[in-house]
């Protein structure tokens, strides 16, 4: 094999390895990010059915690209943001459980942590909303909000 051919083969192999690595990393990120699902059903003549399912990695990217909230002059908002960040950490480490379950004449609201996911289910007599978010995304959002709380307030 001539030197030129060896160089070409090395380049091709290098590109193949890089492509495989990038694909593997993307697949891992895709898998680790989980899936976000939002489903809404509104009954009636003007009712709607919405079912959005997307990789959590896209939600994480959207969170990362969003500008940091401008609540820096409000002490209560800063405290709340910091608390949200800390609570999200607790959410990630706690065992699976139904955290909130409220039932009232024909309606039910349930917030549950299950297998690394946060499930919010709202049921009305004929309408319902399901939100299913990976806790990883919740933490990602909370971390961003927590960072906003730590930024010194404008004078």
């Amino acid at each position: 094999m001539r030197a030129g051919e060896r160089l070409a083969l090395a380049i091709v192999l290098g590109v193949a390895v890089l492509a495989a690595g990038a694909a593997g990393a993307a697949t891992y990120a895709w898998h680790a990010g989980g899936t976000v699902r939002v489903a809404v059903h509104a009954a009636g003549p003007d009712g709607t059915d919405v079912n959005v399912q997307m990789p959590g990695v896209l939600l994480n990217a959207a969170i990362a690209l969003c500008p940091t909230p401008q609540v820096l002059d409000d002490p209560q908002a800063r405290a709340a943001l910091a608390a949200v960040g800390s609570a999200a950490d607790q959410l990630a480490t706690m065992p699976d459980a139904v955290l909130v379950d409220v039932r009232e004449e024909g309606s039910r609201v349930r917030v549950e942590k299950s297998g690394g996911r946060l499930l919010i289910r709202v049921r009305e007599t004929r309408d319902w909303v399901d939100i299913d978010v990976p806790i990883r995304s919740v933490r990602f959002l909370a971390e961003k909000l927590g960072r906003a709380a730590r930024v010194p307030a404008a004078v």
Binding site: A83, S86, Q90, M94, A97, V98, L99, V100, D101, E105
Partner: protein, 192 residues
């Protein structure tokens, strides 16, 4: 709910909200709140959270608490100093039933057994009932030495409280239960 019941419920809610400061040792402790309204259409509420999570939310909760040294127990305000004085007397007393107050249709009984103070209040011929089980260290921490009620200290003390029911409120149309446990409870069987 009557004003009396509402007052105790507020105390109970403040108690729950004032969960302990974050610590590894309270990671496995859960505080449970259950509210059942009577009747087919009555609301049923179950909330359970790890103490560690409640403590994480303390900065927010404290900002919303308007604790200025007085608690409104229905018809009269009781200052923290008065409460401390009452508590000192209760704490130093031997075990037994030592306070019974009957005022119209209302009866209040306070007793102490095995390091736990029991407060039982009944009203309207027994149709409204408040039961509190207060471990001595918990109340000590709650009343503290500061100008206001010491929620962080209360929360620290709550970590060491034995599992079991802390507060029960029964009135004409609702029931409230607050208890502490080492694990989350499953969804109630009557839930649809």
């Amino acid at each position: 709910m009557t004003r009396l019941t509402r007052g105790w419920t507020v105390v109970a809610a403040l108690w729950v909200m004032g969960a302990p400061a974050p610590a590894a040792s309270d990671a496995g402790r859960w505080i449970h709140v259950r509210v059942d309204e009577d009747g087919a259409h009555g609301a049923k509420v179950d909330v359970q959270v790890p103490l560690s999570m409640v403590s994480s939310l303390m900065p927010t909760l404290k900002a919303k608490m308007d604790v200025d040294g007085k608690l409104d127990f229905g018809s009269s305000d009781v200052s923290i100093d008065d409460m401390r004085a009452y508590w000192k007397a209760v704490k130093e007393a031997k075990d037994g039933n030592y306070v019974t107050v009957r005022d119209g249709s209302q009866t209040v009984r306070i007793s102490k057994r095995g390091g736990v103070v029991h407060v039982d209040t009944t009203d309207h011929g027994g149709s409204e009932k408040v039961t509190m089980r207060l471990p001595v260290p918990l109340v000590d921490a709650f009343l503290g030495q500061k100008d206001t009620l010491d929620f962080p200290a209360l929360l620290d003390a709550l970590r060491d409280v034995p599992s079991g029911e802390l507060i029960a409120v029964d009135d004409d149309d609702s029931k409230v239960r607050i208890w502490i446990d080492d694990r989350p409870s499953p969804v109630r069987e009557d839930a649809p």
